[in-house]
Structures are given as structure tokens and as C-alpha cells.
Symmetry: C2
Subunit: 219 residues, 2 copies
């Protein structure tokens, strides 16, 4: 019996965030290949489809193990499944959405999340007009019910789709209640314990970089 306790195990290699951000795109391409009945693929061919270098693909994958075979390449189905495990998509990830306005509803309605094992289990809002309605079968609760809901459900992720003004206070409350990860759409940075994970989707910043590129072209 091998000693594999946390104490004895070698520290997990830290994967750079540049690599992590590329993983979902690999996963998407592999899923498309699988759907198209492609059985195997070499790093070279995948690199051409994805517009990256084959070297980068091999380097990236080898952070997590040797999934290929010399002379053959990679088995698409196997690699797809392994990538899914790496990304944590082999289990159901419950999500609550705080802020049931347009954006919150848009997320709740997004089919892609379901497909990849994410499950929206509740929306929350302060607006009495929204409370009680359902979005794709999911109920909108009064934000006062957050505590009770989180205590009685297995949920680690909260999407924040609420006005900037309320974002920080709610974020802190969510963390207090045991939420481990924030998917943040508010144009705000939080000051939270460092073990809390935050993934920002700053739409205004995204459109501004596009604006920059448009205007820097015609200098």
C-alpha cells in the first residue's frame, strides 16, 4: 500500500494560469472532433485547427500526464474524458446566481452550462417582482433566504450578476455562508480571504479592449 496521504504526497505542481485558461478551448475542440467521429488526432493536426503550435499543445497536456502515444497521437475520446476530469466536469457543479436581472436570467437559460455539468439551482434577488418567478424551472428566491438555502444545499459557486453598489457586501456575506468561488460579473474587485476563488467577467473591460484596437488601427 503506497503512502499517499496529503503529508507524504509530493506537492502538486502549480499550473500557470496561462495554461489553465487554454484548457477549456482544448476541451471544446476535442468535443467537436468527437462529435464528428474523429478517433485520433496528432498534436500537429490539432495545432493547425486551433491556430496554436503543436509544441504548446504537447507542453500543456504534459502538465497533467502523458495522454498520447508515440507514432499514433492522441485518442480523441480518451483525451476528451481526461480533460473533462481535469476541469472538474465529471461531476455536477451546483451554482447559485445572485442578481436575477437580465444577465442572471441569461446565465440561467444558457444551455451550454447544463451540457458541461453545471447546474443552476437557485436565483436570488431583492426585487419583489422577480421573487417567486421561475427561470427555466429554477426559482427566484428572496435574497434573505440565502443563508437557509446555502446551508441546505451543496453549492460552492455563486455567480454575481448584481449592481456594483451591492456587490462587495453580498460577496462577503456569501463567503461567510461558505461559498468557495465567485463568478463575478460586477465591475468591482473584492477584498476577500485568499482561499476564495474569483473569476471575473468584466464585460465593460472586454468591449473597451475592442474599442482600443479599432481606434489604434486608424491611429
Amino acid at each position: 500500500m503506497t503512502d499517499n496521504t496529503a503529508a507524504s504526497r509530493p506537492a502538486e505542481k502549480v499550473i500557470s494560469s496561462a495554461v489553465i485558461k487554454r484548457l477549456p478551448r482544448y476541451y471544446r475542440y476535442l468535443g467537436d472532433l468527437l462529435k464528428n467521429g474523429v478517433v485520433r488526432i496528432s498534436s500537429k493536426e490539432l495545432s493547425q485547427r486551433m491556430n496554436v503550435t503543436a509544441s504548446q499543445i504537447r507542453q500543456d497536456l504534459n502538465n497533467f500526464g502523458g495522454f498520447g502515444q508515440q507514432g499514433y497521437g492522441y485518442n480523441v475520446e480518451y483525451l476528451y474524458q481526461e480533460m473533462g476530469k481535469i476541469l472538474g466536469l465529471d461531476q455536477v457543479n451546483n451554482i447559485i446566481i445572485v442578481g436575477a436581472g437580465n444577465l442572471g436570467q441569461a446565465l440561467a437559460n444558457n444551455q451550454d452550462f447544463d451540457t458541461n455539468g453545471f447546474r443552476i439551482i437557485g436565483l436570488f434577488d431583492v426585487n419583489p417582482k422577480l421573487i417567486g418567478m421561475t427561470v427555466k424551472g429554477v426559482e427566484v428566491y428572496d435574497i434573505d433566504q440565502l443563508e437557509e438555502f446555502i446551508n441546505s444545499h451543496d453549492v460552492k459557486i455563486a455567480a454575481l450578476t448584481l449592481p456594483k453598489a451591492k456587490a462587495s457586501a453580498i460577496a462577503e456575506k456569501l463567503v461567510e455562508l461558505g461559498i468557495k468561488a465567485l463568478w463575478n460579473f460586477a465591475p468591482v474587485d473584492y477584498d476577500l480571504p485568499e482561499d476564495v476563488l474569483v473569476e471575473n467577467v468584466h464585460l465593460s473591460e472586454s468591449i473597451m479592449t475592442l474599442s482600443y484596437r479599432i481606434h489604434s488601427k486608424d491611429q
Copy 2:
């Protein structure tokens, strides 16, 4: 009279995309400072607020010019305005949204864009139930009217918030009609002329990186 024709002018320095992606965040912090009545700020103090190095701030800004003053720091209002010009926010940027579902409507309703000089001037959809309605005063048109609309309006940017299946064909059509920049929310990569700018917001990929981080923590 200085010769400043395109031919004589030295080629614009190419700014790395790492820098470009940081600009909107500077702009946001400067806007907040301005709102709070802060008149001047040093790279050191800004670095502490933003959680980056002072060196990086100075390097980033100096790609675009010397906006500060030794011994003083940066004038907040001046720097804010200059950053706005760099980002192209000193002019109105018209946007059309193709796909008037939840996400398209969420974008149309987003107050932040208005604030920064982005103007949604039309939504387009194939769904007869949506066509004719208005979102925040902006009409939803039949997608067949795209050509006429683009020809008669000054619009360079199209947001793509439509199903994956239709995305590529519509993207190509938009480019044909003269659209210069795509703000793409569909989980697809396009094969377009290289002078067409594409900014991707891949929500599924975003949530997957969060999932990765959650699951890699508990090893």
C-alpha cells in the same frame, strides 16, 4: 509644418495584448478615484490599491506617453481623460447586437456601456416574437434587415449573442456588410479576414477555469 502623413510617420509601436488588457482596469480605478475627489496619485499608491507593481503601472503608461511628473505623480483627471482617448471612449461607438435573446437583451440593458460611450443602436433576431419589441428603447429588427441597417448607420461593432449553429454564417455576412469588429459570445472560433477584430467572451470557458481551480485545490 511637420510632415505627419501616414507615409512619413514612424510605424506605431505595437502594444502587447497583455498591456492592452490591463488598460480598462486602470481606467476604472482612475474613474473611481476621480469620483472620490482624489486629485493626484503616485504609481506606488495606485499599485497598492490595484494589487500590481508600481513598475508595471509606469511601464504600461509609458507605452503611450509620459503622463506623470517627477516628484508629483499623476494628475487623476488628466490621466483618466488621456486613458479614455487611448481606449477610444472619447467618441461614440455604435454597436448592433445580433441575437436578441436573454444575453443580447442583457447587453442592451447594461448601463455601464452607455456610461463609457458605447451605444446600442439595434438588435436583430429571426424570432417573430422578438421582432418589433424594444429593449431600453432600442428596436429589435428582423435579421433580414441587417444589410439595409448597416448601410444606413455608422456602425463598426457587432455583438454576437446567437446560437452556435448560426454564428459562423452570420459573422461572415456581417463582415461582408462592412462590420469591422465582432464582440463574440458564441462558443465558436471564426475564420475571417485578418483585419477583422474579434473579442471573445466565452462564458463556458470562463466557468470551466473556475471549476478547474476548485477541483485542483482538493487535489
